[in-house]
């Protein structure tokens, strides 16, 4: 088949598949799932930070936080658009989210409890996202890769802002420093788990790597991230809640303490502290907005008709 041959050649050349190109159904499905999950994560991920917009302790931080949460909405939009190029409309993807058929990153099912969490989320969660996403800028599907380029640029900005929040706290009053350490303690393990299960428990990764969607295994990315934050936490004068971290000279890799994968799967199944709350909020926003969206379409239809008549 010509399509398959072209597809295989493009993948072999590490070049890009575009929306109008033929592609295997499995490739398309994998991408829709991955891109929409990513989009949903951006949208749900707005909530923990939105929780501090009205309470940000300085106007400068309030402005930065507002802009950040707004950026996440923008990322959601790019990604839904990228997914739409694969033939699934935003409405349908939304529906999958609201009915619980689609997932989003588990990290957002943890509560944001203090101002320091704004720092920890920026530094650790956006940090992990970047390590995950930078290789995705080279993903074989064109629109996805290009969306990623734009997103990564903003994410790295967000990560730096998160780090700055923590740095300010770490050099602040004892209560502020304590708050920062506490936030790191709570977000460290969930952030590490953002890379997904260990490689031996992640069978789909292999196919994604063959398709040049994924470039590195979950564990490889996790180790890279651990190495990175391990250095950065020293600048903060704080610690990671893991005394097992070390660089293994033999393997040339970073090692970290064991993660509680049981908790990971619990949260994934919907039993995290905030799963229900996040979904309820999203559903409420969607339902409360229904009459607004209907009004907008009705108005647009009226205008179109007027334009036609005129």
């Amino acid at each position: 088949q010509a399509g398959q041959a072209y597809f295989d050649r493009i993948i072999a050349e590490d070049s890009r598949i575009e929306p109008s190109d033929w592609m295997p159904e499995a490739y398309r499905k994998t991408l829709v799932r991955q891109i929409s999950q990513h989009a949903h994560s951006e949208i749900i991920g707005m909530q923990p930070e939105a929780n501090f917009i009205t309470r940000a302790p300085s106007l400068k931080r309030k402005a930065i936080l507002m802009a950040k949460v707004q950026d996440e909405a923008g990322h959601g939009l790019y990604l839904y658009s990228a997914a739409e190029t694969l033939g699934t409309p935003r409405e349908e993807l939304f529906d999958q989210l609201l009915t619980g058929r689609a997932k989003y990153s588990s990290i957002f099912n943890y509560p944001a409890l203090t101002w320091a969490d704004m720092g920890a989320i920026g530094w650790l969660v956006d940090g992990a996202a970047i390590v995950n996403q930078v290789p995705l800028c080279r993903a074989s599907y064109g629109p996805y890769g290009r969306a990623m380029v734009r997103i990564c640029k903003e994410e790295s900005f967000h990560q730096r802002q998160g780090f700055e929040i923590l740095l300010e706290l770490a050099n602040g009053t004892p209560a502020q420093k304590q708050m920062a350490q506490d936030a790191i303690n709570r977000f460290y393990a969930p952030a590490l788990m953002m890379f997904g299960p260990n490689d031996d428990a992640s069978p789909n990764s292999q196919q994604s790597m063959r398709w040049n969607i994924k470039r590195f295994s979950n564990d490889e990315l996790r180790q890279r991230f651990v190495g990175m934050i391990q250095e950065q936490v020293k600048v903060l004068g704080l610690t990671l809640p893991d005394d097992k971290i070390r660089f293994n000279e033999e393997t040339g890799q970073w090692e970290h303490g064991e993660l509680d994968w049981n908790e990971f799967y619990e949260v994934l199944k919907g039993r995290g502290p905030c799963n229900a709350q996040r979904m309820e909020r999203r559903r409420e926003a969607h339902e409360n907005g229904a009459w607004v969206r209907e009004a907008a379409s009705a108005y647009a239809a009226k205008q179109a008709q007027k334009a036609q008549v005129a």
Binding site: I53, G172, E284, N288, Y299
Partner: protein, 245 residues
């Protein structure tokens, strides 16, 4: 001078409190595009607030954060309108319509202020407010001339904010003393009324027949809502006196 600082405080507090109200919508809007749009408007207003408060504070040796986080309720100079709760999307749009039309007329005259700082802040902000105004007008048209439900809600949103319109256009002694520096609020009323009537007419809505409320006239009296707004806005800052962020 004290008077200029006091005037800047009024401008800054209106922008700050409205930004605070609008910030709530981010992650709760009817569609993602609106999370972004309302977020943008909130961010713009917060920017104006920071400029005006910084300028006001310079007269008293205070920072923008001193003024935002450490003043108590009677020291704020915000109007009743911006303190009103968000309500549903229609009420938020009604408040936006009134405020952005007012603010546009205000800033477009403030650019000629004899006070260069005020003029410069207004000049920078005016383009943004033009967008806010356009956003509010577009939504007023969509909701007013959308469905029956949206029309009903938009009407009720307008009724709900209407008692607090007059306060925006009230002159007082501070304004008298600042001739050439401050914009006379009463002068903004006619152009405001004209454009509003035009928008509402196109939106198949009417100017509400609702009584004005005796408001605080930017004195020490506020709506009952401000206490709650400040409790939330200031809580973390006040838990850590002397801290920087």
């Amino acid at each position: 001078s004290q008077d200029v600082a006091e005037y800047a405080l009024r401008l800054g507090d209106d922008a700050l409190i409205l930004a605070q109200r609008l910030g709530w919508w981010i992650s709760r809007a009817p569609e993602i595009e609106e999370d972004i749009a309302l977020g943008n408007i909130a961010l713009d207003l917060l920017g104006h607030a920071r400029s005006f408060l910084t300028y006001a504070g310079s007269a008293w040796g205070k920072t923008e954060d001193d003024l935002a986080y450490w003043r108590s309720e009677p020291e704020f100079r915000s109007s009743f309108l911006v303190e009103q709760p968000n309500g549903d999307f229609a009420k938020t749009i009604a408040r936006q319509l009134v405020f952005s039309l007012y603010q546009y007329e205000l800033y477009s005259r403030l650019v000629n202020s004899a006070d260069e700082t005020l003029a410069a802040i207004a000049a920078k902000a005016l383009k943004e407010v033009d967008y806010h105004r356009d956003h509010a007008i577009q939504w007023t048209l969509r909701l007013g001339d959308g469905t029956e439900e949206s029309h009903r809600r938009m009407k009720s949103g307008l009724d709900s904010v209407w008692p607090y319109v007059d306060e925006l256009f009230a002159d007082d002694e501070l304004i008298d003393r600042l001739a050439g520096v401050a914009v006379r609020p009463s002068e903004l009323r006619a152009p405001f009324d004209a454009l509003l009537a035009q928008v509402l007419d196109e939106a198949t809505l009417q100017v509400p027949e609702v009584q004005p409320a005796m408001t605080g006239n930017r004195g020490s009296q506020h709506s009952e809502h401000l206490g709650y707004i400040l409790a939330e806005m200031q809580v973390i800052a006040r838990e850590h006196p002397g801290a920087t962020w």
